[in-house]
Symmetry: C2
Subunit: 163 residues, 2 copies
């Protein structure tokens, strides 16, 4: 992984429809080596997938709720069951195990508060939870799928562009 790989990743994180030739041009490479690099990044799993990102408004996914969860059952069985339950809910788009006084944090996406209430009832019907607290987002000011690449570990200097 060198600076060229990073440049390629940056471009594809922004726009995955770019043709290999265009990526190549932008990073200052010809198509063949650029194609080989992308291929490799995919094989290695650096690039996990390519997806379409939708407009939340347009698909009626207007409300984001952060759900903080505390549990009594601090054991792997409970977590396993809980994870499986959560993964079934398409409304839960993110799910973290946390340090600190909150045990788990969910990001839930629904059309409105009423739908959130329905989701909430479905959730607590499926699994026992000690304590749930919901925080509503009023506005999504920034949302990106792009990971910061400045921290990426570079094996070596980028190969000098040969004449």
């Amino acid at each position: 992984m060198d600076r060229l790989d990073r440049k390629i990743l940056r471009l594809l994180q922004e726009n995955a429809t770019l043709a290999v030739a265009d990526v190549a041009k932008k990073v200052g490479l010809s198509t063949t080596p650029c194609w080989r690099r992308i291929q490799k990044l995919e094989e290695e799993g650096v690039i996990r997938k390519r997806v379409a990102v939708l407009n939340p408004e347009k698909v009626n996914a207007r409300v984001t709720v952060f759900v903080s969860i505390r549990t009594n059952a601090h054991n792997p069985e409970w977590l396993k069951r809980f994870s499986e339950v959560i993964k079934e809910f398409p409304e839960v788009v993110e799910f973290y195990r946390m340090s600190g006084d909150v045990d788990y944090l969910l990001r839930v996406v629904v059309p409105d508060i009423a739908s959130y209430d329905q989701f909430y009832k479905k959730l607590i019907a499926k699994i026992e939870i000690r304590n749930v607290s919901s925080a509503f987002a009023m506005e999504q000011i920034k949302y990106t799928t792009e990971l910061p690449l400045d921290y990426m570990v570079l094996d070596k200097e980028p190969a000098q562009a040969s004449a």
Copy 2:
């Protein structure tokens, strides 16, 4: 927007590299109308973009921190300035204005705790904040870019597939 559009979106949310012909086959349509639908979904902005999703581990983005922010300055100027500052940080991948006792919530992605501390110092150097509290994620159990489409508003019944 009917059930066919929804089906198309579901597929493209999962995998944006699918050829139109493949999408068509899966939704039970021939390529032309499927192509036209996708075209329209893009024009209307339902599909916002297509992106490559990277593996956080592989690009050294291992630690997620949720940063809760309280401010004294409840005015549009401060928010504007704050937003601009935040948008400059590639480490901040999500940013919400919240209801409740927390004013803003950030999701920050960095390689490790030391980097988070550096980020934190950079942030408070740039803008005055009353109160910051950081919660560290130990594990990302679920993360998806797919929005739930079950809530999508359908104009009408899907057109009957014609013979």
